[in-house]
Amino acid sequence: MDQCHNFQKLLSEFIDGEISSDEAARSLSHAGSCHECRTFLSTVLNIRPVSMHVFSTRTPKTLDAKVHTLIKNKNPQIVAPLLPLWKRRCTISYPIVVLVSAILISLGVLLSPEFHPSEKVIHSMAIENDQPPILPTIEVRAKAHMQVE
């Protein structure tokens, strides 16, 4: 009887994969020749599939409603976010992203040398054409300002 008690302990752990292969072989060999231990083993093996039906249950809708109301009414205490910036959720909408991108691209194009040639370029173009610069340079503007004063 004590022997069966010990083997059933081992069989219980064997079912959970918690014993060595030697112990497993020993306890299975015993179960092969012992009706009581074999019954124990087969019954315990049957518990799991049936327990799925017993324990499994749907969460009641009332619980969802309760928790929802609880959180809705609760004023969340905002504390400094601990999540690194790159892991935080993005809350900016796509239209805003598109608009900002368009503005940045337009500014980039408008400020590029092709659209706004530097003074050196204007000078060189003027020398090449043997004409005065089309746009007054900063120096010219400064001289004009000093003359006025």
């Binding site: 059933q8 302990k9 219980s12 752990e13 959970d16 918690e18 019954t39 124990f40 087969s42 019954t43 315990v44 049957n46 518990i47 799991r48 049936v50 327990s51 799925m52 039906h53 017993v54 324990f55 499994s56 249950t57 749907r58 969460t59 009641p60 009332t62 619980l63 969802d64 309760k66 928790v67 609880l70 959180i71 609760k74 969340p76 205490q77 905002i78 504390v79 400094a80 976010p81 601990l82 999540l83 892991k87 935080r88 959720r89």
Partner: protein
């Protein structure tokens, strides 16, 4: 899908959507657990509600965000035991009949087994019912069960064996091959 730790950070930052995500992730298994311990649907609901309220209020104090699931189980366990100690409950569950496979004979056999196991579990002490739930239904490892219950490994092994032994005695007539 965001990890538990990420969701926790967002909840601490006041993100209600993250809270809803986490709630939906764990409500079902935690409710089943509370129900298995308490055997009372309404009380199980209250316990789950309290547990998530605690998460909302005290989430920032959780030391290991990656072990959030374990933290939730520990809170639900503590609240359930408190509820039991306060004698707030105690009518057996009105069990729903499980929906089973179509073959009539199998249906009958399966129904008998389910009812027998329900009945046997009703008579088990809460600690035994708990280990059966963790091992047979949730299929947690011994180590995980130890972490949640705070019991030692030999104690868990012993409880599980005794629970199985008690169930076997009640179930043999139904589970005979």
């Amino acid at each position: 899908m965001q990890t538990d730790a990420e969701l926790l950070y967002l909840i601490v930052a006041g993100d209600a959507e993250a809270f809803a995500d986490l709630y939906n992730r764990y409500k079902s298994e935690l409710y089943c657990y509370a129900r298995a311990l308490l055997r009372d649907n309404n009380c199980a609901e209250d316990v789950i509600q309290d547990a998530f309220l605690r998460l909302f209020n005290d989430g920032k104090n959780i030391r290991e965000p990656s072990a959030l699931r374990q933290w939730l189980y520990i809170v639900v366990r503590r609240l359930s035991y408190d509820a039991l100690n306060q004698n707030r409950l105690l009518h057996p569950l009105d069990e729903e009949k499980p929906s089973l496979d179509p073959t009539p004979l199998e249906m009958v056999e399966q129904t008998l087994k389910v009812e027998a196991l329900q009945e046997a579990l009703q008579h088990l002490a809460i600690g035994y019912r708990e280990v059966i739930y963790f091992r047979e239904y949730m299929q947690l490892s011994y180590e995980e069960i130890c972490n949640i219950t705070g019991a030692s490994l030999p104690a868990i092994k012993s409880k599980l064996f005794k629970a199985r032994k008690a169930l076997t005695a009640a179930l043999v007539p139904y589970f005979k091959e």
